[in-house]
Amino acid sequence: MVGALIMKFVIQIDASPHEAQAANTAYQFIKAALANGHHILLVFFYYDGVCNAQVSSFAGKDDLSGRWSALAREHGLDLVLCVSAAQRRGLVSAEGKDQGLLAPGFRIGGLGQWVDACLKADRILTFTS
């Protein structure tokens, strides 16, 4: 019955990594969930959470966007920025195009993808501040 405890998660991140600990907490939670064999269907960045995708010009381990990219590469995570939140903050053009600002592994999506993933998921968690 151990198999029944493997769960599918959707994670929503609402906070900029520069102003709150919430995005870092989400990162640690996801690492632990993956290590315990769970599936992360979607990491959805909303509100100021879209700032997680913006590559800092300060290189180094403090840059969370780089850690997100590495985690996505290793585990095939789907990191989705909400298009309207990203447009509002000027990270994505009016046409919905990435303006070359996003770290590798992030893609642009819509609220519909979030709703869809929530239907398939066992657990939905929001990290906010």
Partner: protein, 122 residues
């Protein structure tokens, strides 16, 4: 597996925190647009969102009442507010920008637990 789920959004924050209310309503309406039952609960300072404001010129703020009234027109199932949160703020349920179902504080845990997905509450 892809059955319908019932969502609840819990709003605890006061108005005019940048675009947060607009983005909250966007997310809520996205759920409704996909034909899933969605409820919203206003708690604590969140109930201030329901207070009508008539003068916004000069303040550079976006009026929230028309935005929140869209909850009625789209298929949002229930707009609820906690009785005690309103009472502590001397707000009458009659003066709000849209009609709400009143929940007593003691009813809130079970009401929230009646949903499949909870979002919020900030």
């Amino acid at each position: 597996m892809n059955h319908s789920k019932c969502f609840v959004f819990v709003v605890r924050q006061p108005p005019f925190r940048g675009d947060r209310t607009v983005e909250l309503v966007d997310q809520l309406l996205a759920v409704a647009a996909f034909d899933h039952p969605v409820d919203v609960l206003f708690l604590d300072d969140g109930v201030w969102q329901l207070q009508a404001a008539h003068v916004l010129e000069g303040a550079g703020l976006r009026p929230l009442a028309p935005l929140l009234r869209t909850l009625e027109f789209y298929d949002v199932r229930e707009v609820a507010a906690e009785h005690e949160s309103l009472a502590e703020r001397a707000l009458s349920p009659d003066g709000l920008v849209l009609p709400v179902r009143l929940l007593a504080r003691s009813e809130v845990p079970a009401w929230i637990a009646g949903h499949d997905v909870a979002v919020g509450c900030g």
